[in-house]
């Protein structure tokens, strides 16, 4: 396993730069697979009584099941090629990207909880979290489509992946290796 932390990758840039922009604080590579540690803003506060109530109820239910404390809470895992999972027990989800054709992909996001909700408060907390996650993921769609459009236009011939794009670089390299291996095998 290879590990690259923000501190190691920022010899020319103050690590605070990474924190200000919310970049991951660590990148890891497991053969074909990859992962990153999500930066957490310690100043983040719930915005209102329902969000606070949802967070508190969700955390309480998880703690009662012994699931709140986990070393994987800020880990985002990427299994080659396109299965992703966040280890956070409050917002545990997987995201699978399926190719539809050469220019189109479909993303399927699944949220997971341990067992059925035991009462109305726990069910409410799960749904409050579900709403937040849907709204957050929806904001990615425009960015992804714009990225596809830009790449498809041919306007850019080269991309220089920076440190915080190490997972993209790893995916690109892994795909390239596998395609070349297949071509060599075919020839």
């Amino acid at each position: 396993m290879a590990v690259l932390t923000a501190e190691e990758g920022t010899s020319l840039i103050d690590p605070e730069f990474y924190y200000r922009h919310g970049y991951p604080t660590r990148y890891r590579f497991f053969g074909d697979h990859r992962g990153q540690t999500i930066w957490f803003n310690p100043e983040t506060q719930p915005r209102g009584p329902v969000q606070i109530g949802g967070f508190m109820a969700g955390a309480t239910a998880l703690a009662a099941k012994g699931l709140l404390d986990t070393p994987h809470g800020r880990e985002y895992y990427g299994l080659f090629p396109t299965l992703f999972m966040l280890g956070n027990p409050l917002q545990n989800f997987s995201h699978v990207v399926y190719p539809v054709d050469a220019g189109t992909a479909r993303g399927v996001i699944r949220m997971y909880w341990a067992g059925e909700a035991e009462n109305a408060t726990e069910l409410f907390a799960r749904h409050a979290g579900l709403t937040m996650m849907r709204d957050l993921h929806a904001e990615d769609i425009d960015v992804i489509e714009d990225g596809y459009a830009g790449l498809s236009s041919g306007a850019i011939e080269h991309i220089h992946f920076q440190t915080q794009e190490a997972l993209c670089r790893h995916l690109y390299n892994t795909v390239t290796e596998k395609v070349r291996a297949l071509q060599a095998e075919a020839s």
């Binding site: 109305a120 069910l123 709204d135």
Partner: protein, 110 residues
């Protein structure tokens, strides 16, 4: 016949619009409502949230029926609408445009 349990009748005007079965239907109602309609529901339901959940916690969550099921669905709509009111604010319309493309596949019991 009352649509909601005693103590929550103040929410009866919201039952038809917000006590909907299924997360997809509730999310659609949220997006279809105006800012004023969402705020009106939120301002009525949020102060009763703790009492409503405490009432429902005393019942088996897997088999709520009648008034109790309607109250649960209202609370789950509140779990939708709060994000527009408490978090998104002026960004709600833009987020609604984007989330319209991220459809729910419903597995929720209510």
């Amino acid at each position: 016949m009352a649509a909601l349990p005693a103590g929550f009748r103040a929410l009866e005007p919201f039952v038809e619009r917000w006590a909907l079965a299924g997360e997809a239907a509730r999310a659609a109602a949220r997006s279809a409502a105006s800012d004023a309609e969402r705020l009106e529901f939120y301002q009525a339901a949020q102060p009763l949230m703790q009492a409503a959940l405490a009432h429902l916690d005393g019942k088996p969550i897997g088999s709520l029926t009648g008034c109790d099921a309607a109250l649960m669905r209202l609370m789950l709509s509140l779990a939708n609408v709060y994000h527009s009111v408490e978090v998104l604010g002026d960004a709600e319309a833009e987020n609604a445009r984007m989330r319209a493309r991220l459809q729910f596949t419903d597995h929720a019991p209510y």
